[in-house]
């Protein structure tokens, strides 16, 4: 067992770098080492998260914690690490390839200002896989996949994350004298920090484009990609903000379990299927839910499956309730014993059921839906016949209250009991009473 000395004289381990002669990776990693020495951080509290490609090998040369994951996703692992343990210093090392495949993660980490430092080892092409063009390859540059010159506009990484909220951005090169200092500044930044560090890929880009240190400087100038610090913002780090925003949550009650007392009785002896068919946005599901809870209050076992299109406040909304004196597992639904139709959308969806209903079944319709053909008994529920007008948001529940009374499955008091809880209790109880009056 080794004893950790804090701070270390070096954060490198004994392994020599594996990179090509002249490759900028070795220099940049040396600067990262110096930056960590400057920052005097406990190596056991540092996680280096590497991406893929030659830059993805980088984590293996440090005496810190490390994670080597998938291409482009390094920022996501780093974010999870930081969120779970905000005390850790998290440094991501990725190539320019990672900024393409993982672009959305970079933007999102910047927007959140998650407290990680991203070093982009930007050598303007894919080195490990054969010199293909990347998101940062300059227009016109020759690569193995742009033999006539690159036709794409290169990504301005600093501008992209900067415009999306990053706390610190810096563009430089592996040759910069102050690179270690800049990396240390990134590490010291509470929010999201990114350093776009241009360098030479001696295996490919240098060869195919006769590229050099001077070429880097010229290209930056031509593109208007100025070197230096581009963003320095005093913003709070996301994991800290998250914890601050939820500081009062411990006092909140869990929203999960809502106990329903089985205080009433029901004469129901066999499973009974009640289908409620109306329009989306008309509180069909919540009204059906109150009927279900009322049935549970009456000692019945209830399942409620809701069917609706992928749209939100248009089209049908159909709730199928199975009420039974014994537990009924979820299985293919039977023909409805009762069908309550609240709107034309509902009727369109429920119409195929009508012909299959039994003679003893019941169809309850709101007025104005036209004729229906079914062996079941058909009744109109006219809420307008009551003395008090019923608001749109209350009509589904009012109609269902009338249906509950007419079908006699369980006491109406159980529905009042179910409706008498929660923030909408008053409105719901009014709706029930209005429905009962209209259909007395």
């Amino acid at each position: 067992m080794t004893t950790t000395v804090i701070p270390l004289a070096t954060y490198r381990n004994d392994s020599p770098y594996p990179f090509c002669p002249g490759c900028g990776h070795s220099t940049i990693l040396d600067r990262l080492d110096e930056a960590m020495v400057m920052a005097q951080i406990d190596p056991t509290q540092v996680v280096i998260v590497s991406d893929i490609g030659c830059a993805g090998l980088s984590d293996q040369y440090f005496a810190t914690n490390a994670f080597h994951g998938l291409h482009g996703r390094s920022v996501t692992y780093a974010g999870g690490i930081k969120l779970a343990n905000p005390n850790l210093t998290v440094v991501v090392i990725m190539g320019d390839g990672g900024t393409g495949i993982g672009g959305t993660h970079l933007i999102s980490a910047a927007r959140r200002n998650i407290g990680i430092t991203v070093l982009v080892l930007n050598n303007l092409n894919f080195g490990m896989t054969g010199g293909q063009h990347s998101t940062t390859t300059p227009e016109g540059a020759l690569t193995s996949t742009t033999p006539e010159g690159n036709l794409e506009t290169p990504l301005d990484i600093c501008a992209t994350v900067g415009v999306n909220g990053a706390a610190f951005t810096y563009r430089g090169t592996s040759f910069d004298d102050d690179l270690a200092k800049r990396i240390a500044e990134g590490i010291a930044t509470p929010g999201f920090a990114l350093l776009d560090i241009w360098e030479l890929c001696t295996a490919y880009f240098v060869r195919t484009n006769r590229f050099s240190r001077r070429g880097i400087e010229q290209t930056m100038q031509e593109l208007g990609f100025t070197p230096g610090v581009h963003h320095r913002r005093d913003v709070a780090e996301y994991a800290d903000r998250y914890r601050a925003a939820h500081a009062g949550d411990a006092a909140k009650a869990p929203s999960g379990r809502r106990a329903i007392p089985t205080e009433f009785g029901s004469a129901l002896r066999d499973p009974f299927t009640l289908v409620v068919a109306g329009s989306a946005g008309a509180k069909v599901r919540s009204a059906a839910r109150l009927v279900g809870e009322a049935a549970i209050r009456s000692g019945l076992w209830v399942t409620q499956s809701d069917d609706y299109p992928v749209t939100v406040k248009s089209g049908h909304s159909v709730s199928t309730l199975v009420l039974s004196p014994e537990p009924v597992p979820l299985a293919g639904t039977a023909v409805p014993d009762a069908l309550v139709v609240l709107s034309a959308d509902g009727l369109a969806k429920a119409r195929p059921m009508l012909a299959h209903m039994r003679e003893g079944g019941a169809v309850l319709l709101v007025p104005g839906l036209g004729d229906v053909t079914t062996p079941a008994r058909v009744e109109i529920v006219d809420l307008e016949s009551g003395d008090v007008p019923i608001g749109k948001a209350s009509r589904a529940l009012a109609t269902l209250a009338a249906a509950v009374k007419r079908l006699g499955l369980f006491p109406v008091e159980a529905l009042r009991g179910a409706a008498g809880e929660g923030p909408f209790a008053e409105r719901n109880l009014e709706a029930i009473d209005a429905g009962l009056r209209a259909f007395s």
Binding site: T44, N65, G69, L70, G80, H105, R258, G292
Partner: protein, 369 residues
């Protein structure tokens, strides 16, 4: 007075996870799994945990993997399209030996398919959904109470075997409101995580051993990787090491199937037909058995709770005296092939729906009677 509740599978999954000690969740909105995301956003910060909506599914599972190694007990939830995007990171969790619970609330596929439509189309997908073909553990609850208890069990298995564990539900289980006796929920013990503060993060000898999890920031520095690696997580191509690593990934699960295997048997002496169901189709299986026995006929059933690895010991034992097996599924027979593999000369029949409707007892008895 008996107290009950009116709740759904998604809520039960959340409560099972919390009972097991889940303290990190990341997910991306998708029907029919969004209820889990929204509930976690409410519940986790209340108990000191973290829940976050990722920018996509890839980020969501990625953040879960990172959070686990920094000390969290993580879960994510999605549906088939999201599992497609999880695929590469599922492999990373397998290779990196990262405990993780993944809930797949199945909907009808392929592609966008039917967002609000029930299906069991992912049973083979979760098994073979990442490169390499390594063993996967998947549990399939059949009701709300099992959504609670199986999710908690998934956390225990994820820690025991240091791997991703799937909980496979579906739109009907997840979103149908169901009546549950409050007394029906089993008590859950918070998951115990074996950890160490020193030593290599991986161990391949003996092949089936699972080394305790090392965590960032706790003890000596530690490395994790998704590349082929030695026991200290340094990349290697050395054949003896790579072979030992990959055999270990298989052996730690394949060598301990008895710890995972879980089925519910209802065998009737003298019955020659076995109904074999899983997930939401278990309801229709139970109804078909009850109807048949009420008519004075014999019928056996087996509900598979641990879909992967296939519970071969239980299944083989249940087949004694059986000449015919009927497998109802909300797909075109995806799990039936696992039964056929073990059925010998017995007849294996499917009852299959892929139209968004649940299978009924009558559908089963049409084939099984």
């Amino acid at each position: 007075m008996v107290m009950r509740e009116y709740t759904d599978g998604n809520s039960a999954v959340v409560r099972g996870a919390l009972a097991a000690g889940c303290d990190f969740f990341a997910g991306y909105p998708i029907t029919p799994a969004s209820g889990i995301l929204m509930a976690m956003m409410r519940e986790l910060p209340r108990t000191g945990g973290v829940a976050i909506q990722g920018e996509d599914e890839i980020a969501s599972i990625g953040m879960c993997i990172g959070a686990t190694l920094a000390g969290s007990r993580a879960m994510t939830a999605t549906s088939g399209p999201g599992i497609s995007l999880y695929s590469e990171n599922i492999g990373l969790a397998v290779m990196g030996e990262v405990p993780l619970v993944i809930v797949d609330v199945q909907r009808l596929g392929p592609a966008t398919g039917g967002a609000t439509t029930v299906s069991q189309g992912d049973v083979q997908f979760v098994r073979w959904g990442t490169a390499g073909g390594y063993p996967i553990i998947a549990l399939a609850p059949t009701n709300v109470v099992e959504c609670f208890s199986f999710t908690a069990r998934a956390f225990h298995l994820a820690e025991r075997f240091r791997c991703p564990v799937f909980v496979l539900t579906d739109k009907a289980l997840a979103m149908t409101l169901t009546t549950v006796d409050l007394d029906a929920y089993p008590s859950i013990e918070a998951v115990q995580r074996p950890t160490a503060t020193v030593g290599a993060p991986y161990r391949y000898e003996p092949a089936d051993a699972v080394s305790p999890l090392r965590l960032y920031g706790e003890g000596e520095v530690v490395r994790f990787t998704g590349s082929t690696h030695d026991e200290s997580a340094f990349i290697t191509k050395r054949p003896p090491t790579v072979g030992a690593l990959n055999r270990h990934l298989a052996a730690k699960i394949d060598g301990h199937v008895d710890e995972i295997e879980s089925v519910a048997l209802d065998l009737e002496p003298g019955a020659d037909t076995l109904l074999l169901g899983y997930g939401v189709t278990a309801g229709a299986v139970h109804q078909a058995v009850a109807t048949t026995r009420a008519d004075g006929d014999k019928l056996s059933s087996m509900i598979v709770h641990s879909l992967w690895p296939v519970p071969e010991t239980s299944l083989t034992a249940a087949l004694e005296g059986i000449t015919r097996i009927v497998v109802p599924e909300l797909n075109l027979g995806l799990y039936r092939r696992e039964v056929e593999r073990l059925a010998g000369t017995r007849t294996v029949l499917g009852v299959n729906r892929i139209d968004g409707e649940l299978i009924s007892a009558a559908d089963i008895l049409e084939v099984a009677a």
